[in-house]
C-alpha cells in the first residue's frame, strides 16, 4: 500500500484548511442559495462536500473574464518650443518612451482547491494539451502550476453522471493532485503528483495504513457499481464524421435546442473564448472571456458568411469536437468528462449521451446498409 497516504480526522478538516489559508488561497465548494459554487474557504461555514457543485471548477484556472494586458497611451511629455541661438525654431526631440505601454496583470499566487469532483479534475486535464500545446498560454499554465487540485471520490452518482463512459472513475486517480475519500472517521488523502506535497506537511494530518486504504477501496467499488455499466463508445470518433452530412440526424437531435449556451458555460471541458478591447480615455484592457460555439454569431465572418449559421451545425460541432475531433488531435482523449451538467441544466432536455449513442447506432446502421 502507498506509504504516503495521509489521514485527516473529520474534526481537523476546518483547522487544516484554515492553516493552509495562512499561506495560500484555499477554495472549496460552498452552498449559495440553491446552488453549490466554489468560494474562498470560510471557517465560519461548512464546505459542501456531498452535493455536486452546480458550476464546474474551470473558472479557477480559466476565469470567466480576465485581462490579457492593460494598455495605457502615454501622452508625449510637454516640451516647450525653444529657439536656436540664431533665432530659428529648434527641432523638438522625439519622445524616448513608446507611445503605448502594455502591462500584464497580476496572477493569483499558490492556490488549493479542496473537494472538487473527480470529473472536474478530468476537465482540467483536457485543458492541458490545449493551453500547453503548439503555443503555450502563460496565463493558464501559471495558474495550473500554482494550483493543487484535491478531488473527492464520489460515494454516489446522479442520474446524469456518466464519467465511466468517457474514461473517468468516481475515484479519479488520473487527473487530480490528491484523491480524497470520505471515510467513517475522516478523510483519506492519497497524493498523486508532486504538487500534493505542498499541502500535506501539516501536523494535523496523520499517517494512514492498510485499513483505511481497504475502507476507501470498498467505497470506490460501491460507487462504481452505482454508476452502472458503461456502454462501449469505441468508434465514436469515426461515427460522428461519417454522419457529418446527415442533415436529418442533426436536425432532429438539435430540434429542441434554444441555442442558449448554458451547456457550454457549465461544461468543464469547453475552452472557447473571445478577445475584446475595453477602453476608457487613454487606458484600457484587452480581455478574454468565455464564449459559446452554440451562439449564431460565434462564426459569423466579416464578409457576412457564416459556416455554422444553423443550430444543427453548431450542435454537430459541439458534439463532434468533444467526441471526435479532440480524440484525433489528442491521442484518443474524449473532451467530455461525463459530469452531466449540460444534461442537468439544459432547459430543453438535450442529452449528449443520447446523441452519442444514437450516432453510434445510426453510423453502424448505415455501414451495414452499405455492405
Amino acid at each position: 500500500m502507498n506509504a504516503a497516504l495521509k489521514f485527516l480526522p473529520h474534526e481537523h478538516l476546518k483547522a487544516w484548511l484554515e492553516e493552509l489559508a495562512g499561506t495560500m488561497r484555499v477554495l472549496a465548494p460552498q452552498k449559495e442559495g440553491a446552488a453549490v459554487v466554489y468560494r474562498a474557504f470560510d471557517p465560519s461555514r461548512e464546505p459542501e462536500l456531498i452535493r455536486k457543485p452546480t458550476e464546474s471548477a474551470k473558472h479557477i484556472l480559466f476565469p470567466r473574464s480576465e485581462a490579457l494586458f492593460a494598455f495605457h497611451k502615454k501622452k508625449a511629455p510637454f516640451a516647450p518650443d525653444s529657439l536656436n541661438p540664431d533665432g530659428s525654431q529648434a527641432e523638438k526631440e522625439e519622445p524616448a518612451t513608446p507611445a503605448m505601454e502594455l502591462t500584464p496583470p497580476e496572477q493569483p499566487g499558490p492556490t488549493v482547491v479542496f473537494g472538487m469532483t473527480g470529473c472536474d479534475a478530468g476537465g482540467v486535464t483536457t485543458f492541458d494539451p490545449v493551453y500547453g500545446g503548439r503555443y503555450q498560454d502563460p496565463y493558464y499554465l501559471q495558474r495550473r502550476e500554482a494550483t493543487v487540485l484535491i478531488a473527492r471520490a464520489c460515494n454516489e452518482a446522479l442520474s446524469t453522471c456518466f464519467c465511466t463512459w468517457v474514461g473517468g472513475d468516481p475515484a479519479n486517480r488520473r487527473d487530480a493532485d490528491i484523491l480524497a475519500t470520505r471515510l467513517e472517521n475522516g478523510w483519506l488523502l492519497e497524493p498523486l503528483t508532486e504538487r500534493a506535497e505542498r499541502v500535506l506537511g501539516s501536523t494535523l494530518l496523520g499517517d494512514a495504513g492498510e485499513a483505511e486504504a481497504r475502507e476507501a477501496e470498498a467505497l470506490h467499488a460501491k460507487a462504481r457499481a452505482a454508476i452502472g455499466e458503461a456502454p462501449d463508445l469505441t468508434g465514436i470518433e469515426d461515427a460522428l464524421p461519417a454522419l457529418f452530412d446527415d442533415k436529418d440526424f442533426w436536425w432532429s437531435e438539435s430540434a429542441a435546442c434554444l441555442a442558449c449556451g448554458a451547456c457550454t458555460y457549465l461544461c468543464p471541458t469547453c475552452h472557447c473564448f473571445t478577445i475584446t478591447d475595453e477602453k476608457a480615455g487613454l487606458s484600457g484592457v484587452r480581455l478574454r472571456a468565455w464564449d459559446t460555439c452554440m451562439a449564431a454569431l460565434y462564426t459569423l465572418e466579416a464578409s457576412g458568411h457564416n459556416p455554422r449559421g444553423q443550430k444543427a451545425a453548431r450542435l454537430r460541432n459541439r458534439v463532434g469536437h468533444k467526441f471526435a475531433y479532440f480524440l484525433k488531435n489528442h491521442q484518443g482523449r474524449i473532451s467530455c468528462c461525463g459530469c452531466g451538467r449540460c444534461i442537468k441544466s439544459c432547459p430543453s432536455s438535450v442529452d449528449i449521451r443520447r446523441i452519442v449513442l444514437n450516432a453510434l447506432k445510426r453510423a453502424k446502421g448505415k455501414e451495414a446498409a452499405n455492405g
Binding site: 502594455l102 503555443y135 503555450q136 496565463y139 499554465l141 508532486e194 484587452r286
Partner: protein
Amino acid sequence: MANVSKSSRTAGQKSAPKAVPARGKNGFKPEEKKPDAAQTAAPVAAAAAGAPQASHSGMPTRNPGAVNPYLPHMATVQEVIKETHNIMTFRVVLNDQEVMKNFHFEPGQVGQLSLFGAGEATFVINSSPTRREYLQFSVMRAGEVTAALHGLRPGDTVGVRAPLGNHFPYQAMKGKDIVLIGGGIGMAPIRTLLYYMLDNRADYGKITLLYGARSPQDMAYSYELPEWLSSKDMECVLTIDREAEGWEHKVGLIPNVLLEMAPQPDNAVAVTCGPPIMIKFTLEALAKLRFAPEQIITTLERRMKCGIGICGRCNIGEKYVCVDGPVFTYAELQGLPNEL
C-alpha cells in the same frame, strides 16, 4: 499602358506611394521556418515570468512564462494607402529595430493587427518576405475593428502579432508553371506570393496572374498594375465584372476568363484566393481545365481570435484554420468536413 485610366484614380489618393522596388533586389532566401521567432522577443515581460517549472508528468514542462503569444509587438504605421472605397493598405514597422531586423515570415502567413481600444483582426502579410522594409496589411472595411483601423494615420501606434499560420508551399511549387488567381481583396495573399516568386524568378516556370475585381475602382494595388502588365517575367490578365468606360482589359467573371485563358495543367500549380463564391466557381473551372485537386491551392477565410489554436473559434472538423491553415490544397479541403 492606358489600362488603369479609372483605377489610377485611387493611386492618386494614397499618401506618398513608394515606387515598387525593382525585381530581384533584396532577393535573399528566407531562413527556415521559425514560427515563434518573433514572440521570443515580446516587447513586455511575459505575464507569468518567473512561474515555477511544471513538474507533474501530465503537464507541459516548458517554462510557461517564457513566451506570451497574446502580447503584440508595438509597431508604427509608416504609410497609409487608400486602395478602393473600402480597402486601405497599411505599411507598418515594428518599433523594436532588433525584432524588425530579425522578423521572419513566409509568403501566406497572417498577422493579427490591432488598434488598442478597438481590438484585433486577422490579415495576411501581403508584402513579400523578400522585401522587408515594412510589413504590409490590406484591410477591407467590414466591421467595427476594420472601420477603426481605417482611421489610422502615419505615425499611429498599432499592435502586431505575427507571423501566424502556415504558408504557401513555395518550395514544392519550384520548377512548375504557376497560375495565380486573385479576386477582390483575395489579391492580397496572391500579392505576397507573386513578389516572392518574382524575387526568386529562376526557381519557377511560367507565371500567370489573373486578377479580377468588380470594377476598375475596386482594384487594389492599381498603382502596381502597369508594372505587372509590362513585365516580361509574368503574364498579367485583368478583368472586371461589367463594362466600364476606358477599360481596355477583360470583362467577365474570373472563372469564365480563366476558362478562356485555358492555362495548361501539366506541371502547373494554381493558387486562387478570393470571396467564397468566386473560389467555388474557380475550383469548378480549374477542374474543367483538368487541374487535379493536389494542384490547386487556396486560402480559407474564418473568423479568428487567438490565432494560435487555443480559443477554438476557427475549426473545421479537427483542423484549426489559424494554425493548420489558412493555406490548403483543394485535395486537403476535400478531406475536411463540408463546413466551409
